[in-house]
C-alpha cells in the first residue's frame, strides 16, 4: 500500500476535534436507538431485580453508558438485546455487591463450585441420591402451592450466586436464545448447558429451603443400586 492509499489520519487539531465530535455523535445516536428499542425491557429487568425505581433508573442509564463505551464488544451476529441485557445483568450484580458491602450483610450464598450448588450433597460420588427428594411442587393445579413457589422463586433469584442467576434471567426469564447467550457470555454450548443445569439446581435447592421442605433420609443406600453394564459386557 502506498502512502497515498493509506487512510487519511487527522493531521490537525481541527480535524481531530471534528473526528472526535463525529464519534461522540455516533455513540449518542446509537445509545438513543438502543434506549428506544430496548429501554422498556431493560427497565422491567432492572426494576424486577432491584425493586427500586431509583436504582432501576440508575442501572438502565449505566447500562447504556457502558454500552456506548464498549460498542466494540458487540460481536458480529450477536443481538443488541442480549448484549444490553448482559451488560445490565453485570450492573445489577455490581449494585448488589455494593449494597451488601454497604449494609455489611452476610448473605448466605452457595459456592460456585465445579459440580455446583444444588447438586453437591444430594448425590453420592457415583451419582445416586444421598437422600430422598421431598415431595413438594407436585401439585400443578394447586393455586396455593403455585403462589408459594412463585414467592420463593422471586426471593431465590436474588439469593443464588449472581453468575448463576444471570443464566436463569437470560435463558429462562427473558428467553434469549441459547446461541445468543453463548455469544454474550463467551461460553461454548456445552458450558452454557452445564451452567444452566447448575443454576436451575441451585434455584431448586433455594426454593426447597425457602418453603421449608425437609429433606428425607434415603432408604436405598448407594451400594445397593445399579451397576454400569458397560463394565460387565
Amino acid at each position: 500500500m502506498t502512502r497515498a492509499d493509506a487512510p487519511r489520519q487527522p493531521d490537525s487539531a481541527a480535524d481531530r476535534t471534528t473526528a472526535s465530535s463525529d464519534a461522540a455523535s455516533a455513540r449518542a445516536s446509537a445509545a438513543a436507538r438502543w434506549f428506544a428499542d430496548h429501554g422498556d425491557l431493560l427497565w422491567r429487568f432492572a426494576l424486577a431485580r432491584t425493586r427500586s425505581r431509583d436504582v432501576a433508573e440508575e442501572i438502565v442509564q449505566e447500562t447504556l453508558l457502558a454500552a456506548i463505551e464498549n460498542m466494540g464488544s458487540l460481536r458480529e451476529g450477536s443481538s443488541e438485546r442480549a448484549w444490553l441485557l448482559s451488560i445490565a445483568a453485570h450492573k445489577i450484580a455490581d449494585h448488589f455487591r455494593r449494597a451488601r458491602r454497604t449494609a455489611s450483610l452476610d448473605q448466605v450464598r452457595e459456592p460456585d463450585t465445579a459440580s455446583g450448588p444444588g447438586i453437591t450433597g444430594i448425590f453420592t460420588a457415583s451419582g445416586f441420591w444421598t437422600r430422598r427428594i421431598a415431595p413438594w411442587g407436585q401439585r400443578e393445579n394447586d393455586p396455593g402451592e403455585t403462589a408459594e413457589l412463585l414467592a420463593a422463586l422471586r426471593t431465590c433469584l436474588d439469593s443464588i450466586s449472581p453468575s448463576l442467576a444471570e443464566v436463569i434471567w437470560l435463558r429462562d426469564l427473558l428467553e434469549v436464545p441459547g446461541d445468543e447467550v453463548c455469544k454474550v457470555m463467551s461460553l461454548t454450548p456445552t458450558n452454557l448447558w452445564t451452567r444452566t443445569h447448575r443454576a436451575r439446581s441451585a434455584l431448586r435447592l433455594c426454593v426447597e429451603r425457602a418453603i421449608g421442605a425437609a429433606p428425607q433420609p434415603t432408604d436405598r443406600p448407594d451400594s445397593s443400586r445399579q451397576t454400569d453394564p458397560s463394565r460387565n459386557p
Binding site: D40, L65, I68, F123, G127, I133, A134, L173, W193, R200
Partner: protein, 95 residues
Amino acid sequence: MIRALREFLAILNRPCREHTEIYSRALDGEQRRIAMIGVRIHMLYCKSCRRFNTQMRRLRALTSRLGDELRTGESVPADVRERIARNLGSGPEKI
C-alpha cells in the same frame, strides 16, 4: 439394532444424576428421544428422580411465567425516559 439396544440399556443403567441432567436438557428441547425414553422408564421406579425432575419442570414453567410478567410489564415512565435521554445526549462525562 444391537448397538441401539446396548445404548438403551446403558441409558437405563445410568446413575440418577445423569438422568436428572438429561431431563434438564430436555426442558430446553435439546435432548435425543431415545435418551428421554430411558429417563421416563427410570422415573417409573425411582421416586426421587420423579420428584426432582417434576420440581425442575415446575420451576422452569414458573420462571417462564415470571418472564411473561417482565415482557408485558410497565414501560419506562416518562420522567425517567426524559432524564436518561438527556443524560445520554450530554455524554458520559456529565453522569
